[in-house]
């Protein structure tokens, strides 16, 4: 990327500076919440003794979070899950959501209302033209121990609609792949897609949906085989995510599955990036002119993404440079002071809509890529 492309306007620079101030302020508030005896969680209060510094005194800005050791996702395996519940939230109903879990003990994260808040914030980014208020939704993806179903359902309800849900169990999919039961895999996928087609063609006025890229692809294909399309069954807006999302796939989806660019009457689609730890990062609007480049921006200050050097995880790379994705979660329910994602990408500059760093070209971290099964559902 050239220096010109990297340059940001004075207005954006000012917004970015303001956003940073808000992030610093938010960081202080969250650190105090999690490390105060009255409000903190048993996990962090116990961890405090091992840190070698006092978060209540020594964290004065977001950058000071680098004093913490990297968050180890192994800490999330096994119980008791209650140790993550901040005392300040004692007595409230708690959800537990899991990731992974194909083998061994899955990682689990407690949630009270974060999944609702994350998706309410996400809702604010969705254009009403393509995600009409009051429209009904389809959620086609994993439910079970994952938060996605409840989160998307809340999004639909928050926008005044009702959510129809079709479940796909990714742990079973991974098992089918490992066993080489490809016929079963196809049948299972068909089983899910058939249900989605049935719901979409049953007169429920579904206009918005979530699907993982692979399921969206299969759904588009299944509808086409029945002589119809996502557009013809009434879908106006789609948000997709959950697995790797590439410009090439986006181009294919826009050009060959969604009826062309949205300006020419095609179905609107926006990629998202997220996980149970962080929440949901939105994409900068995608276009053919921009090479279908996908740039994600975390919902700051509740979550932050950085692109850091492969050699020094506390060193943010230059704009346009490649590094590993580092996540921070800074909510009153959950505190993650720097978690190394299993992804890498390029650092993106702030812009007017999201005046903070983003990340583009997200793909499996090259050192882990061969050992990771991605995009299975």
């Amino acid at each position: 990327m050239s220096a010109v492309e990297n340059s940001i306007s004075d207005d954006v620079a000012k917004s970015a500076s303001d956003a940073r101030d808000r992030l610093n302020e938010h960081t202080l508030k969250i650190v105090h919440w999690h490390f105060s005896e009255e409000t903190g969680s048993p996990f962090w209060l116990e961890k405090k003794a091992e840190l070698g510094f006092d978060p209540l005194k020594d964290v004065k800005s977001f950058d000071d979070l680098k004093k913490f050791p990297n968050f180890e996702d192994e800490w999330l395996r096994g119980g008791p899950v209650d140790r993550w519940v901040p005392k300040g939230h004692a007595g409230k109903p708690v959800y537990v959501f899991e990731t992974g879990g194909t083998t061994g003990i899955p990682k689990s994260r407690m949630v009270i209302e974060d999944h609702w808040k994350d998706y309410e914030l996400f809702s604010d980014t969705l254009p009403d033209k393509y995600f009409p208020r009051g429209a009904n939704w389809l959620m086609l993806g994993p439910s079970g121990p994952r938060r996605l179903r409840l989160a998307v359902e809340h999004l639909a309800q928050y926008r005044g609609g009702i959510c129809f849900c079709i479940d796909l169990d990714p742990r079973w999919v991974v098992k089918l792949i490992k066993k080489g039961w490809m016929e079963h895999l196809e049948e299972y996928k068909k089983h899910c897609i058939d249900q989605a087609v049935t719901v979409l063609t049953a007169g429920h006025s579904i206009e918005c949906m979530f699907a993982t890229p692979k399921l969206l692809e299969s759904l588009g294909e299944a509808l086409e085989e029945r002589g119809t399309s996502l557009k013809e069954v009434g879908i106006k807006g789609i948000f997709s995510g959950g697995t790797e999302f590439t410009p090439q796939w986006t181009r294919f989806a826009v050009e060959e599955m969604l009826g062309g660019p949205v300006e020419e009457g095609g179905v609107y689609m926006t990629p998202t990036y997220g996980n149970t730890l962080m929440g949901l990062a939105c994409s900068k609007p995608i276009s053919a002119a921009d090479g279908y480049k996908i740039s994600y921006y975390a919902p700051q200050p509740r979550a932050v993404t950085e692109v850091v050097s492969f050699d020094d995880y506390n060193q943010v790379v230059g704009i346009g440079e490649t590094g590993r994705v580092k996540l921070y979660t800074l909510t009153d329910e959950f505190f993650v002071p720097g978690f190394m994602e299993r992804d890498e990408g390029e650092r993106e500059a702030p812009f007017d809509l999201y005046p903070w760093d983003g990340v583009s070209g997200v793909r499996p971290f090259h050192e882990l890529a061969s050992a990771t099964t991605v995009g299975v559902y």
């Binding site: 080489g180 692809e217 590439t246 410009p247 796939w249 599955m257």
Partner: protein, 479 residues
């Protein structure tokens, strides 16, 4: 630097996902390779009928003539490939650079593919047992016996998931075009060269471009070809073959476990067959399913193993441009180290002897690749695990086994060369369902007669023989 892009029924597609193809030894990029995902492949497979329709505009005879012209172009011409043109020498350099095969082996595979294509009329004549190819084209016809014969094409296209590093296997999909069946090929990530050059040669020879799809990509691209094509072939491991066993839609090609069986009647003269045995083990760097991985005899097995070891044990790594290079590199070093570790386990078993131990280290590790030097092991019984092993380098186990037990213990054997004059052994070998291609007499396992079917007859795979009866329609009253 040459860039290879996907081809969607004859139309190049500018992929946004471009990867480097790197030199096996230096790690330097030598080409760029665009890929597609399963979604694009799936969409194109819905238009597969158009590929066949384009081919049906030409008669089989015309397509055979085009194939012969394509053979000449493939072997000799400068052809448009990717975003540039490619000479034969460039093809050989590029293929060697990405696969680790010595250049003379690349040239040999080039000639083999060209040979098969240029003899397509004879090959199809033999595989169809002289059937008029217009009957395949039309779907039915009369052969002169007063009975209609009908062969129904089971697919408009043949899908193929091609291997990374075996340029010799491409002969298997070549008959599709003169049979008026289109091709959806997923080229191997390190060996896209043959399919790209071959498709270019076909198109230059006049075959309609709409008949060809080239879909480089990951597992989902291959998976889409397999699931959405009524007939496809795949090249892979024993696990891949097992996964598709019994699936009539898939012809799976994997390890061959090809063997040489020596009858008691001639085993005392084993030295007469030494050259043939060495060729069977060492040719093409031992990388093919038709390379010999087991030599079975009831006696003299140690001497046989010793003699082969003396011939191939000293073979060492040479530059790929050296005309006497016999070893191909493992472009993924971990494959070599893993294989080496498995061989060490084999050798740990009682009754197994490394006859090439005196010829130095077998595992040669380089920065970006690795080599395994030839190995001959002796197994004092077919009970030894190594008797059933096949590896991707010149490796053979010489197994001591009574003749009476051989055929029931050899297991799956793609090519079985049986050295004997004993009519009973010849008859039993011919009847053994474990042996796919049977050679009676001193024929090296790697020497295939292309006029005969290989791992199933492709005609039977692509066409179904069925009944087709006709009767005159009655004339309507008042007509």
């Amino acid at each position: 630097m040459i860039t290879l892009q996907p081809l969607r029924w004859g139309k190049p597609y500018e992929s946004m996902e471009i990867k480097d193809i790197v030199h096996f030894d230096t790690g330097e990029p030598i080409a760029k390779f665009g890929s597609v995902g399963g979604g694009i492949v799936g969409r194109d497979m819905k238009q597969a009928h158009k590929a066949r329709e384009a081919l049906l505009k030409y008669s089989p005879a015309e397509l055979i003539e085009m194939s012969k012209k394509a053979a000449d172009l493939f072997e000799n011409a400068e052809l448009p490939v990717g975003d540039t043109t490619q000479s034969v020498d460039e093809f050989v350099h590029q293929q060697s650079a990405s696969t680790g095969l010595p250049e003379h082996m690349c040239r040999s595979n080039l000639k083999k593919n060209s040979f098969v294509l240029s003899h397509m009329d004879e090959i199809l004549n033999c595989l169809t047992r002289g059937l008029d190819l217009n009957i395949l084209s039309k779907g039915y016809g009369e052969e002169g016996r007063g009975v209609i014969v009908s062969y129904q094409a089971q697919t408009p296209i043949l899908g193929a998931i091609l291997p990374n590093n075996s340029p010799g296997v491409h002969t298997l999909w070549l008959p599709a075009i003169p049979l008026q069946i289109g091709l959806a090929l997923k080229p191997g990530s390190q060996e896209p060269w043959t399919p790209y050059r071959m498709v270019s040669a076909f198109i230059q020879a006049g075959v309609p471009a709409e008949a060809f799809g080239l879909y480089p990509g990951g597992h989902d691209a291959g998976g889409a070809i397999m699931t959405k094509t009524p007939r496809s072939m795949i090249f892979g491991s024993a696990q891949t073959v097992a996964q598709h066993a019994g699936n009539p839609k898939v012809q799976a090609h994997g390890p061959g476990w090809s063997k040489i069986l020596i009858g008691d009647d001639i085993v005392d003269d084993w030295e007469l067959y030494l050259d043939m045995m060495v060729e069977s083990v060492l040719s093409n760097s031992g990388r093919s399913c038709i390379n010999c991985s087991g030599i079975w005899a009831s006696r003299h097995t140690r001497e046989i193993a010793q003699a082969i070891a003396q011939r191939i044990g000293p073979v060492d790594v040479l530059p790929p441009t050296d005309e006497s290079a016999q070893l191909a590199a493992f472009t993924v070093p971990a494959m070599a180290t893993g294989t080496h570790a498995m061989v060490q386990q084999d050798l740990a078993e009682q009754g197994v002897t490394d006859m090439t131990a005196e010829y130095g280290d077998k595992l040669i590790e380089r920065e970006h690749c690795a080599y395994l030097r030839p190995m001959v092991v002796h197994a004092d019984s077919p009970e030894r695990g190594v008797a059933m092993k096949e590896y991707m380098f010149p490796f053979v186990s010489v197994v001591e086994c009574p003749q009476a037990e051989m055929l029931r213990r050899i297991g799956p054997t793609l090519v079985g060369t049986v050295l004997t004059r004993d009519p009973a052994l010849i008859a039993a070998a011919g009847a053994s369902v474990d042996i796919d291609r049977v050679n009676i007499g001193p024929i090296a396992t790697n020497r295939l007669n292309w006029l005969q079917p290989h791992e199933g007859n492709i005609i039977d795979f692509l066409y179904r023989s069925r009944a087709y009866q006709t009767a005159d329609m009655p004339v309507a009253a008042g007509a």
